[in-house]
Amino acid sequence: MKTLALFVVVITGAMLIYAGQDLPAFGDINSPSYQAPMTQYFIENSRTESGVTNIVTALLASYRGYDTLGETAVIFTAGMAVILLLRRRER
């Protein structure tokens, strides 16, 4: 069983390293994420539209605010589920 687990881990790691070779280089101007039209839009307009200098926060809290609300709800639901299942009640 342990050899099987090691086998799976090694194979998965090798696959991830192999796939990582195809990622665009860091800061590569020709990578698809830089070439996408939305990237230019966010760089030019996110400051005036959301008033926030950090583009990541502007995307997270403003453009994708509904998604972030869902993420917070997921964390809240997970916490409540653990409380319901595992919390020891003292009498």
Binding site: N54, T72, F76, G79, R88
Partner: protein
């Protein structure tokens, strides 16, 4: 485990460091609008400070700082702050989470900025409460909490 908890060095360092970790967490939450940071990261750092304290001083001491009831209240408060901000935008005539619809200040971009800060605080409160409650619920019950006091 108990040997680590009895170490004077670790107890002193933790007691001194916990307020600074909490201060840093507040900084990370409030800095989310202008640099790296945000509610998720800051909430986790704040939760880690309380978890560190509870690991060294014991679960019972930790629960004095953050009781089970407070945990539940905080977790739901944070999510409510977030959702209420979104609903306030609807009330003021915008769409859900359309921050600049709220007429708080003359400059809509500034309103958006402060409401984004408010939303980050809400995220932080929920994340820190859930982190701490996860730790308290998963940790094993203490056999003799009085023994570590000697």
């Amino acid at each position: 485990m108990s040997r680590i908890q009895e170490s004077v060095i670790i107890r002193t360092v933790v007691r001194i460091m916990v307020p600074f970790i909490q201060l840093f967490a507040l900084y990370v939450i409030m800095h989310g609008a202008s640099g790296p940071g945000g509610g998720f990261q800051g909430g986790v750092i704040f939760g880690a400070a309380i978890i560190l304290y509870a690991m060294i001083y014991g679960i019972a001491e930790g629960k004095k700082k953050m009781s089970d009831a407070l945990d539940k209240i905080l977790a739901s408060t944070g999510l409510t702050i977030f959702a209420a901000t979104g609903l306030a935008c609807i009330v003021c005539g915008g769409m859900f989470l359309q921050y600049h619809a709220v007429p708080l200040l003359p400059d809509p971009a500034k309103v958006s900025r402060y409401l984004i800060d408010l939303v980050e605080i809400g995220i932080g409160i929920t994340v820190l409460a859930v982190m701490i409650s996860l730790f308290f619920d998963i940790s094993p019950p203490e056999s003799e909490p009085e023994e570590a006091e000697e």
